[in-house]
Amino acid sequence: MAQDLGYLKETPSQTAGPYVHIGLTPNFGGLSGVYQRDLGSAMVNDQTLGERITVTGRVIDGTGAPLKDALIEIWQADAAGLYNSPSEMRGAADPNFTGWARCPTSAEDGIFVFETIKPGRVPFKDGRLMAPHITFWIVARGINIGLHTRLYFPDEAAANAEDPLLARIEHRHRAETLVAGGQAPNYVFDIHLQGEKETVFLDI
């Protein structure tokens, strides 16, 4: 017998369910009076450095219908490519930028909206720069474990061409599912959960 490694197992995921708003964006879900405002509703202020952008989009199911009960969180670097996180060792991020936000998809048309800034480039493990990107995390009724993906920018063709993550996508046409549409400052990022246009999701 060898030594016991002693590692614990990760707590298994479960769906966020249809009433995720009660816990994560109660004011949006019609439950007011507990929190002043929903956490993650604003990531920029007047002093935030960088180019202001708006990202809108939908999460679309296997029939082509938008989810009206999904919740999206995003996480990104500041304009200089630094994360506002204690694990960021390369320098101090812009104190006027949280780097994180959450937004439910609208109950009417399924659209989400993020007011943010365009992130700077950050390095891959081997030091090569990744292209500017925003990490997306999607939960909803019917999604058993949160889905990770990334938004890349359509006006960063040169950076995208040398991005180590995009380069790992074997079927080249699928890399396009991670590149937003629209143009600065209004980008559009539709996330397709399944089917022909299925977004590339990450185990990372």
């Binding site: 298994p12 507990v34 929190y35 956490l39 296997g62 204690p86 058993n144 399944q194």
Partner: protein, 249 residues
């Protein structure tokens, strides 16, 4: 985010997720998953700095009653109706290390199984003194605690006669965005657990048991509230010094 600054930062990549332990995306017994599950394989990569980092929240986001669901929506001098319970435990990583400064958010139905949500129409009544949301942040030992009423079971349109077991939804932030997790806590001894199609999305019985909080008699407060203990494990991170990180990230 300033009250976490004296903690030694952790910067290792995360252990890979065991996706045979978690529920698969496609689990047809839970009908909504059929059209909401990716059919193509996930793209696998070791964590990059984009997942090693993550937002960390300070206590300044919390209000005084945020971890007291019995009172945080109640009129002055009143309280929610139901079985008073304390839910508490620790947030650890897979290496058994406490995760300090973790934000936990939780939500649940009231004692009758009714959620306070504009799209919910179950005939069981709302409790005028119960909202159903709360949040807290773990202390330096990874410990958390909140007070609530035990939620009721409720029916849902999946099979003809499916009911959810009593459960509390949990959302947890660790230190890296790769640790982000949403799950549900169930109660020891509830026979509904083993009938539920959402619980049944998890293939491994041991994994399901990890979501069942035992009655913690030792922490029950006499003449006040019973206690349930629910420990949460987030992904661990590698500790080896021999990582190829020329940029120092």
């Amino acid at each position: 985010m300033s009250d976490t600054e004296n903690r030694r930062p952790e910067t290792g990549a995360f252990f890979q997720r065991d996706r045979n332990w978690h529920p698969p995306a496609f689990a047809p017994g839970y009908k909504t998953s059929v059209l909401r599950s990716p059919q193509k394989a996930l793209l696998s990569l070791d964590s990059t700095i984009s997942e090693i980092t993550g937002p960390v929240f300070g206590h300044s986001v919390l209000g005084e009653l945020d971890n007291d669901l019995i009172h945080n929506f109640a009129k002055a001098g009143e309280s929610a109706i139901g079985e008073r319970i304390i839910v508490h435990g620790r947030v650890l990583d897979e290496r058994g290390r406490p995760v300090a400064g973790a934000l936990l958010e939780f939500w649940q139905a009231n004692a009758g199984g009714r959620y306070r949500h504009k799209k919910e129409s179950y005939l069981a009544p709302l409790d005028p003194n119960f909202g159903g949301c709360g949040r807290t942040i773990t202390d330096e030992n990874g410990y958390y605690c909140f007070r609530t009423i035990r939620p009721g079971a409720y029916p849902w349109p999946n099979g003809v006669n499916d009911w959810r077991p009593a459960h509390i939804h949990f959302s947890i932030f660790g230190h890296g965005f790769a640790q982000r997790l949403i799950t549900q806590m169930y109660f020891e001894g509830d026979p509904m657990i083993w009938k539920c199609p959402i619980v049944g999305t998890i293939p491994d019985r041991g994994a399901i048991e990890q979501l069942i909080a035992p009655l913690d008699w030792a922490n029950t407060i006499p003449m006040d509230a019973r206690a349930y203990k629910f420990d949460i494990v987030l992904r661990g991170r590698r500790s080896t010094l021999f990582e190829n990180r020329p940029e120092g990230n």
